[in-house]
Symmetry: C2
DNA sequence: AATAATAAATTGAACGATCAATCAATAAAT
DNA sequence: ATTTATTGATTGATCGTTCAATTTATTATT
């Protein structure tokens, strides 16, 4: 159990150090040496716990979006929304993506570093597709029964996802991050045009 | 004059080869050797005409958005819009950014490669800021006198720019590119919410 | 017009630096 | 005593850049 504990601790430390380097210095600067230095350990430890650098980077990429999924689930249960449909669920999903406590400059910067390489790194494409798929599914489910034209729900969900991604990218390139409610105004505009 | 001609030809060949490699294989794969191979020349020629690799990459980044600016100017003159304000000018600006002949997968992919490094490469930040600044200025000018709340024009212009960037990024990660009118629908939704 | 002289264009080998990954050796923990 | 954790040196590959050598083009001279 002690062995498992140390392993978990080291892996998490390395993931956090990796994420910090990727966000602050860019994916290109994320060398094993630099990540190890940030985690206050040696370069060899990366290969001891992750096998290779790519596996660590993938673990780091996966960890970027987990706070969004967690926040969405928490808001659903807190609001007593079981089936995940309706206006409250939609709001929960959007807020989970845009709340300032979740959409931070660091997280957005790291996310942009990974997603911008999706077309060239198949492993990133897999992770990105899975996350985007779940996001679209949640948006569609929440739109069920509240769209003026039910057939338009998939298109609206996709539109929302793309707009959300746009604000994540914008957040990554602005030192102070987004202004409160700045993204929400644009999202609501898209919504008010196609939702009852 | 012959000397100058050869220089111009080589520089343009290198910029195009650089753009092709960046878009198809990613910025990380854009080595001098690979770019030179794509241009059917040798690696040393990059330094002969550009000094270093960074200068070539910057020239390539600048060239990505010139078709947008050109298309915008052409549409303004074709429509006889001198002052660049009004609904027709706004449409011209948006179309210049979203028309399928301009927003291609290759161009979007290359643009994403450069903009995702803006936070870490000061030279990219300069180029990006200049282009974004002109884009915002054009949008604000076109919104003049047609917004319900004139004070909201800057915020609306920024919202539009971010949404446009979102669709450029989406276009980069989809093999077939965007569907015709797919982006326009979301943009119009943002507009109809804040413009007369 | 033909040839020599000069300049420009191009190449490929070489250099130093940096990288991921391996591995034998050491330290710590069980 | 045995397993686990950790280190740092090493290896082989690749990178940007430099540079001397070579080819090609242009100009000057006869």
């Amino acid at each position: 159990m002690a062995r498992r504990s140390i392993e978990e601790i080291r892996r998490q430390e390395l993931v956090e150090a990796c994420l910090a380097v990727v966000a602050e210095e860019g994916h290109d600067a994320a060398t094993t040496q630099r990540i190890a230095a940030r985690a206050e350990t040696s370069a060899g430890i990366v290969h001891h716990y992750f096998g290779d650098k790519a596996s660590l980077l993938q673990a780091a990429m996966r960890s970027v979006r987990t706070p969004v999924a967690d926040a969405y689930r928490d808001r659903l249960t807190a609001g007593g929304i079981a089936d995940g449909s309706g206006r409250a669920a939609l709001s929960a999903c959007i807020d989970a993506h845009l709340d300032p406590s979740i959409l931070t400059v660091r997280r957005a910067a790291a996310w942009l570093q990974f997603t911008s390489r999706v077309a060239y790194v198949p492993d990133y494409a897999r992770i990105h597709a899975a996350i985007r798929c779940r996001q679209i599914a949640a948006l569609r489910r929440s739109l069920r029964g509240m769209s003026a034209d039910p057939g338009a729900a998939p298109a609206v969900a996709l539109r929302l996802a793309i707009a959300i991604d746009g604000f994540w990218a914008e957040c990554a390139t602005r030192e102070g991050g987004l202004m409160p409610g700045e993204a929400r105004a644009a999202i609501d505009a898209i919504l008010s045009d196609s939702v009852l």
